[in-house]
Symmetry: C2
Subunit: 418 residues, 2 copies
Amino acid sequence: MDVDAYMLDVGRRARAASRALARAGTREKNLALEATAQAILDADDALRAANREDLERARSRGIASALVDRLELTPARVAAMAEGLREIAALPDPVGEVSELRYRPSGIQVGRMRVPLGVIGIVYESRPNVTADAAGLCLKAGNATILRGGSESIRSNLAIARCVAEGLGHAGLPVDAVQVVETTDRAAVGALVGMDEHVDVIVPRGGKSLIERISREATIPVIKHLDGVCHVYIDDRADLGKAQEIAYNAKAQRFGTCNTMETLLVAREVAGEVLPPLGARFEEARVELRGCPETRAILPGCRAASEEDWDTEYLAPVLSVRVVSDLDEAMDHISAHGSQHTDAIVTEDGSRARRFLAEVDSSSVMVNASTRFADGFEYGLGAEIGISTDKLHARGPVGLEGLTSQKFIVLGDGHVRT
Amino acid sequence: MDVDAYMLDVGRRARAASRALARAGTREKNLALEATAQAILDADDALRAANREDLERARSRGIASALVDRLELTPARVAAMAEGLREIAALPDPVGEVSELRYRPSGIQVGRMRVPLGVIGIVYESRPNVTADAAGLCLKAGNATILRGGSESIRSNLAIARCVAEGLGHAGLPVDAVQVVETTDRAAVGALVGMDEHVDVIVPRGGKSLIERISREATIPVIKHLDGVCHVYIDDRADLGKAQEIAYNAKAQRFGTCNTMETLLVAREVAGEVLPPLGARFEEARVELRGCPETRAILPGCRAASEEDWDTEYLAPVLSVRVVSDLDEAMDHISAHGSQHTDAIVTEDGSRARRFLAEVDSSSVMVNASTRFADGFEYGLGAEIGISTDKLHARGPVGLEGLTSQKFIVLGDGHVRT
């Protein structure tokens, strides 16, 4: 197979389909989403049979059990895919929304209209549900998608793609609007991220090495998410009851998510009071603490943190803890070691909260709330395609709006420029 | 001189200054802009002396007179630079603006706060006024800038930079917030567009070859403007009086601007009525017409357009003219030959206007108005750093808002995720 020629054909079809999709009405797009959801429910047996083949192959190849687990399509996951598509159908259509339409002194009206981006390439790893989730979100925003999943989930992805094609056909939309790359050849990724003419943006979803590779190779803009080294700073004017709840929740509610706290910063003045009860709770939750010397003086069982710890996204029951003198030292630490993902302050002092909000340069900045809230659903965006730690275009959770752009519209009545 | 080491130092200083600038208040930023404006007026003699050196050198090197003209700092241009900075000072500060702050079912409030991008690299050609204009706009948006002008204007640019440094110092802002690259070595551009760690976005301003080179070499996002192949489509339901005025203005008001019409599309049904008087006016304005066979049957003196003409940005008194059957054929032509910059329809038919607005995928789409309105001042953005024909982040004229980003802010009162 000539992978470059195949991908070029996929790209051309996607571009052509994107034109039809940009013109499609809300009704057609919702119909396609609902019909895909129904097709997925109806195809439950076929989907799980295809998935079993993927699973068997993965196990026989000795793939790590955590990966195999993510690969599995349980009945609950199949139902969740269908439900997710219905939720996307229920979201307001962002396309065509006109905002800020105002008269100018010249007499023209100038406003902005929200429009699709065009063609979106998604490169992802083992979870096959991304096929339906990502395609659905892109479709609602009027974009065509090219999906390139992991080779270990190819049968599952293609089976899901057949359901999407059925849904698109049912709504009279071009089936090329959602294409799953049929080859597992790695060269297909290289071709995809270099097709400037046919693809407008790449969204990689997966581990850091995948994202770094895509960013390096892509000649197309990439909406990406690198590290999530998130902080909670307990200020000396914090309500220590709230502080304990927030810090505990930010770490222990889930260990493996990107918005989980990885470093706790505590103001010196309250460290002696807040760290012992918090340390006990973390011990109970089997969270290993790694502290600075002052932390270890307060929590004698605590292991010493190395310089590397402050820059590490553990994604595991490990937490680094550092005592700082004040807000400025906390913000300096976040600026030096953070990943501009999500950082929170716990304080009752309004002026300090105001400074933290303004000065911490992260995609989500929080006051008196757990970092675990950094999420498209929690923010009211509906589903999310990912969380961006970039600054241009989309920052933080990326939902439908992040999959669109705005053009200017000008309305006149024969107006000319003088 | 070790250019890479020098540029790395410039980058590091810019990054450090950008942190201070992001925290700077509206008052300090405006003070710096006003003081720079005054410093420029006060330094009029010194600026023009430095500029004379650039001019003499350019002339002695035999540089084309159009370029030498753009290079010249006349008293009027010096005054305009100062006035431009005062206008930027008068614009509302976009930084810190909070929008869409709403309660979520969990009890947290989620909103967006507008924040600077960080460090902006500007690569431009001969006009030295860009030094003040671009630095001023970036400064107001809270960004540090690294300016790399053309080697032919280096003395003028450095003289302007001294005025900016005076203004920054007067306001107590770091002088590294605006740096003009002091070497004319071309390797400096390559270094600048590859410093991912220290530069957040590149804005190239100049001819197509410069922009293409930067886009190719940059590993940093580029806000760019390529071609301006703009169209006006005269529909058969147009008011032909308005149509004539708009078409004439779109072409003849200025020939060399990117929002000038390069191709006129006319519906067959009205071509015989509208083209003769319009052709006469263009003849009077010495605009050369290049037409399709049908156009030439109506305007016998008209030269034949080649296939290449439909894709050409003339930036000159030349216009290609094509007769089309209807709105669909006009939009197909724009989609095939346009550059997604600015396209207009002239029609009294509301349904057709609505389709044109929704379906033409350009940064500015207009109804019954001249393409010449596509401009930051006309749109009410204040000054503009450029016009983007990209889709991600900023599209169309890019003003202060396009030089910022939005982060999420979350306000709680001890909220945790369950």
